[in-house]
């Protein structure tokens, strides 16, 4: 609908033109150029390390940017009352939520596009200057891994959106989202570790229950991590990808619809 596109577009423009964005990009460039130097600190598998580092940087910068935009474009919208500019028009609260989220997703995709370019360039340089004995770059998987990172960031943005809809300050929403990110990355491994009961140690069943519940509530971000596959050129199971994406879509759906519900009842004195 035209309302959604209108809101999405102004959100996108607003995010793109912020000066912090350029600052972060400069940092990203620096980190990517250091990929070359750092790769040679590792004795074997130089290419794998280069892939690791550049994907890691892309992911790291991506998270910073996602949190930044979530704060700037959503939390601040509520704090600075600029939301009234939008709500006074003939748009519904739900259209606002969906439109904003579309705008943020667009800007995440655009900047990840840029970061993927840098990332690929960094790896390509190392590859070009190193003999094939140290490994080759598996480009399809590498690029796929980048796209999955992008998807993960969009999911993270949806979590931030939900927090912004009720958190009393933009900083609180930011902090909560960061915590969710950290938990989301580790929850799968933690659950697995506890389930296999390594070392025969006794884990309190209450604790196990807590972790299992957390597994269902917090987003399992590890499913979007294909860095190992990219670095080693491992095969990717298509069923895993399909379920991962479906899971991600449902999770995002839950976040956004919940946020819309909260917004329907929210006032802006």
């Amino acid at each position: 609908m035209s309302n959604l596109w209108a809101i999405a577009r102004i959100t996108f423009l607003e995010g793109l033109r912020s000066r912090v964005f350029f600052g972060v990009l400069v940092i990203a460039l620096l980190l990517f150029s250091s990929t070359y130097t750092l790769s040679y600190l590792f004795p074997r598998d130089v290419i794998k390390v280069a892939a690791d580092l550049s994907l890691g940087t892309a992911s790291f910068i991506g998270v910073i940017l996602t949190l930044f935009w979530g704060t700037q474009l959503i939390s601040k919208d509520l704090e600075k009352r600029t939301i009234q500019m939008v709500l006074a028009r003939a748009v519904s609260r739900s259209e606002y939520v969906i439109g904003k989220f579309l705008g943020i997703s667009l800007i995440i995709v655009s900047s990840m596009f840029l970061l993927s370019g840098f990332s690929s360039l960094a790896v390509f340089t190392v590859d070009y200057l190193t003999s094939d004995a140290y490994g080759v770059v598996h480009w399809p998987v590498f690029l796929f891994s980048l796209s999955m990172i992008t998807f993960m960031l969009i999911l993270l943005a949806s979590v931030n959106f939900l927090f912004s809809s009720f958190a009393s300050s933009s900083f609180l929403a930011l902090g909560l989202t960061l915590v969710v990110y950290l938990i989301g990355q580790s929850i799968e491994e933690l659950k697995r570790f506890l389930e296999t009961g390594a070392e025969g140690s006794a884990i309190s069943p209450v604790f196990l229950k807590v972790i299992k519940t957390a597994y269902y509530i917090f987003p399992n971000l590890a499913t979007f991590d294909f860095k190992s596959q990219a670095a080693h050129g491992l095969a990717i199971s298509s069923s895993v990808v399909v379920w991962s994406v479906l899971y991600g879509i449902f999770y995002i759906g839950v976040m956004i619809v919940a946020a819309a519900l909260i917004f329907e009842r929210r006032e802006f004195p």
Binding site: S2, N3, W5, A6, I7, R9, I10, L13, E14, R17, S18, K80, R81, T82, Q84, M85, V86, L87, A88, R89, A90, V91, S92, E267, F268, P269
Partner: protein, 310 residues
Amino acid sequence: MKAIFFDQVTKIYSDGFKGKKIALDQLTLEVHQGEIFGFLGPNGAGKSTAIKILLNILFPTSGRAYLLGQPVTDKTIRRKVGYLPENPYFYDHLTPEELLWFGGKTSGLIPTQIRERADKLLSMVDLDHVRQRPLRTFSKGMVQRAGLALALVNDPDVVILDEPMSGLDPLGRKLISDIMRKLKEQGKTVFFSSHILHDVEDLCNRIGIIVEGLLRLTASLTDLLSTPPKGWRITVRGNKEALASQSDRASWKLSTTGGLTEIQAQEIDLYKLLEQVKRLKCEVVAVVPLRETLEEIFLREIQKAGVKPL
């Protein structure tokens, strides 16, 4: 169909520890189509609250509000409404062009229409030369004018302005009042809140005075200001001693500056007064009826409510 209708709208804030605050108390108010309505009140009276309820930015605790016959919860009715908030905040990095594009798009206009309206409005508010510069480079007055353009981009039937003159220089104020007059000529309805009474006097057809959440008075301005005068103030040039002796008899108040004397008389009949002045062989320079000014009415209402004016 009424342009705006508040039907016993009440807004109560529960402020946590401080208890409840009644922002609006059973506000019932009508604004007719094609008129300019001035919504007056001291700071914190509830003017902005009432306006935000009209735009569905706030929800009433009880009661309902209507725009052009439709409940304000119906988002489509806002296509025919334009709103300029007090101290407007916009996305800083947008240009006026993009802002108006956004306004047009969300009101259902097609790109060619938007471009047309944008051209017209940007030149009307004198922002044509900066139409592609981001709003964060604008002065406060410029932002306000951009906001006005946004409010009018969809050619609304009802225009709602919250303290539109605040913070503007005389040039800016004239621009706004000219636009408001033009809107009225086009048959639009204008509803604005203010506490600058001078502007109100010149523009409005009707006014409403709200104090501490309660509507105290609604009246047509012409009615208010065409009540029979309680007296007259006549400025004359003439014999000072003669005037002085007459004033003692007729309980006039005199004040002389240079060659002119100002007579303040409580005499209602103007002709009788002029006869008296004529007999004293004075030259009449100015005649002003003494009535309760809008300011006096305003202050009276505030005092009745027990609020000390700041």
